[in-house]
Symmetry: C2
Subunit: 473 residues, 2 copies
């Protein structure tokens, strides 16, 4: 396995920060921390301001540093004070920088300072275990990792992070549903090396459990009762929390499959994937013609929600509309959501066909169930939309009915025209649909958007290809 070591060393050389970059980042972090500290004391707010996250733990990647400033305020503050008073002070401290308000599990502020992202996050200064808000654990994670990660493990963590970024499973934000930096650190701590992490991950099972602090040693069955998730990583500072609760099955298994592939054939491209150029419209047309399926795209305008909420609302809407289509017998090959996170929001379906047969077979109750049979007969015998039957096959009633919805386009059109809450469209998306309307585009109608929006064309190409890039290495 010299090849694997070779690839890892070559990655490590690139991602381990050099002293000059390190100094610059740490200087910036200290400067921002001071700004926040000063703003807090000026406002008379008592807070412990500290540098947290990967910069504090020294697990960040060269040229990809994020600076996390945490302000630990008194637990006597109300949730509302935390969210409004604190954020007001933060905004004041960051005056002059580009600021975006974010929402993870609770609000924070993101600023871009000298090309680096700086997150300023309020949380409560609580004792371990007395958590009042989701981010209260972070300073404890920082201290825990600082205590347990030596230089070697920090490098192995960097490798794992870069690998996950390369294969697209890194990041706890809802858009990704992948593994967080803190999970990478915990896995490295548990498995020792990057190489061992991917080797072990290759054999992960459903509800694979990683319990680095051995909280549940000898009581493994309790874990299954407490946590129901594709991946369970017991939080080393909170035995009651699955730190991997946000990891979707898809991302977990992509990590597993990519780990297997990497071990079999180590390649730098797992860490540094090539992004294929989107094909031209002619090629796009021939790709679509070859598979003969229907691309159905719902285009919506601005959704009034912070980014995390936006994605969760898009995904929920995608799931609901997919269910709606499937319940009406449309075969959905695949679906996805896309957003420029500003004014263009898209849900895309690939359907085997957008038009269904006029009538369909409908399965009734077993004849032995007398009351159900009577109800079934009463319902279907005299109805206009019964085209044939009811008859008996084996022991069941069958009837042939006219379909209510034969066109996927009309079905979605009708469901969305009133916002779509009734079919499970998420609230903010429904509001947008009512306020700004929506468009449904089919096949050829999508090419204009494809031509005009490069981000979207990238998305559509990878949707059509439909396989992770590393799978072809």
């Amino acid at each position: 396995m010299k090849k694997l070591e070779h690839v890892c060393n070559s990655v490590l050389r690139r991602i381990r920060p050099k002293s000059l970059e390190r100094e610059k980042v740490l200087e910036l972090a200290e400067r921002m921390k001071l700004k926040v500290t000063n703003a807090m004391s000026e406002s008379g707010l008592d807070a412990e301001v500290r540098i947290d996250g990967s910069v504090a733990k020294d697990t960040w990647l060269s040229r990809e540093a994020d600076i996390d400033i945490f302000m630990r305020v008194s637990p006597t503050l109300t949730r509302d004070e935390l969210e409004t008073t604190c954020l007001r002070v933060v905004r004041k401290a960051l005056k002059g920088y580009r600021i975006i308000e974010r929402y993870a599990e609770h609000p924070y502020v993101e600023a871009w300072v000298e090309g680096t992202r700086v997150n300023v996050v309020p949380c409560y200064r609580v004792e371990k275990g007395n958590w009042k808000s989701a981010t209260d654990r972070t300073p404890f994670h920082t201290e825990y990792m600082k205590r347990h990660l030596d230089e070697n493990l920090r490098d192995e963590t960097r490798l794992l992070k870069k690998f996950m970024k390369g294969i697209g499973v890194y990041g706890a934000e809802i858009k990704v549903g992948g593994l967080s930096g803190m999970l990478c650190e915990t896995l490295s701590l548990f498995y020792g090396t990057f190489r061992n992490t991917v080797t072990q991950a290759s054999d992960w099972h459903r509800s694979e459990t990683i319990d680095v602090e051995r909280y549940y040693e000898g009581r493994r069955e309790e874990v299954g009762q407490l946590f129901d998730a594709p991946l369970v990583v017991i939080d080393p500072v909170d035995r009651g929390r699955n730190a991997a609760a946000a990891v979707s099955g898809r991302r977990m298994w992509e990590f597993v499959a990519a780990s297997r592939a990497f071990i079999q054939k180590p390649n730098l491209r797992f860490f540094y994937p090539t992004v294929p150029k989107p094909s031209d419209v002619k090629q796009l047309r021939s790709t679509m013609a070859r598979r003969g399926s229907v691309l159905l795209l719902i285009q919506m305008g601005k959704v009034d929600a912070v980014v995390d909420i936006l994605w969760s609302q898009l995904y929920k809407t995608e799931r609901s509309l997919r269910n709606l289509l499937q319940e009406n017998d449309f075969e959905v090959s695949k679906s996805a959501s896309w957003s420029d996170e500003e004014k263009c929001n898209i849900i895309l379906f690939e359907l085997a066909s957008a038009a269904l047969s006029k009538s369909k077979r409908h399965l009734g109750p077993p004849v032995s169930r007398r009351e159900e049979s009577e109800k079934f007969l009463k319902k279907h015998l005299s109805r206009e939309d019964t085209v044939s039957g009811p008859w008996i096959e084996d022991d069941r009633w069958i009837v042939e009915k006219l379909r209510r919805n034969r066109s996927a386009e009309l079905l979605l059109e009708a469901s969305l025209s009133s916002g779509g809450r009734a079919v499970g469209v998420a609230g903010r998306v429904a509001e947008s649909v009512i306020k700004c309307g929506f468009k449904i585009l089919l096949n050829e109608e999508i090419t204009r958007l494809y031509r005009s929006n490069r981000q979207f064309s990238n998305f559509l190409c990878s949707f059509l290809k439909g396989r992770p890039g590393w799978i072809d290495l």
Copy 2:
């Protein structure tokens, strides 16, 4: 329930043979018995010739008498002698009458004498229980019923038979898969009256068990282990036999459903159904257009088999081809077989659509199964017919493939061109297909046959209507 009694009395008046008809039938039976007896002794064959069946038991219906002559030969005769020597003698005895050789579970001869069907059936003269052929039990059934059915029960049997004929569930022959005359007698004996029979049948369950001789009293669980059938009627002269083994689920449940309907709304039409006139071609076209489905008809020539075998071969072929269509994702609303029992054999499918989408989603193994996943990836990654993927959804691999068979017509055409044994077409049907060919007709192409063949047009109309006639009473 005066209405029910009224209907039954009125039916009974019509189906109870008057003395003149009775004398005529009995005289004819005796005459035929004598003919067979003489032919047997002339041939030096030792046989007990007797009148069996409904005429002997006096459970026959006016104007619908069948005469069954049984010849009980020595059990020392081989099966081959029973089938050839005996039938030769029978044919000689029936010289001059129209003769058809039949095959139930073993061969017999059917002759038409003065407008009445006469069946002459060879069997073995064995002790009860030492059955050598399937028909050996019949004389024992005759004696048993003669012993147990009084005049009242014989009338109740007649009512039940006529009811079953009216709703289309009477007859053990393969074409029907219904209830035999002997089952009607057993049910009447068990339930006492026709009225009680339909009342009780309304509440039958799956594997309903009727054990008139109480062979399994206190050991009911044994019945479930011995017999697996929709309906179990323990043969009163053979505790090891389910006399209802030939009853299909469909016919049993049609009987149950019709019984319920009759009790709720007694009507003469259950016994004397009106046969609707087939609609004209214009109406046929509009019926077909309304449902928008596809009628696909396979027309075959003469099949070299006696009637019972013919039907079993047609049904087997229908099942196999239906499976073939369904395995290839065609939605079969309904299928049926039809035959003029001479030169025209037909299998008919109603399909939601005869053409499918070009590509389809294909579900792969869970990612956790490492070896299966590897095989799956190896198989689909480089294949020409993979149009998209593989990708991971939740915990499974998915891939989008081109379909092999998009046209139902071409699929059947290709499968039948070599006879179709490979897809489960029954042997004699396959022979016919090879020798005489076959035609596949779609929708409009069927109208010519519809116009030219009255029997077929009746069949097609009831296929399209798709509901038992009594259901609309």
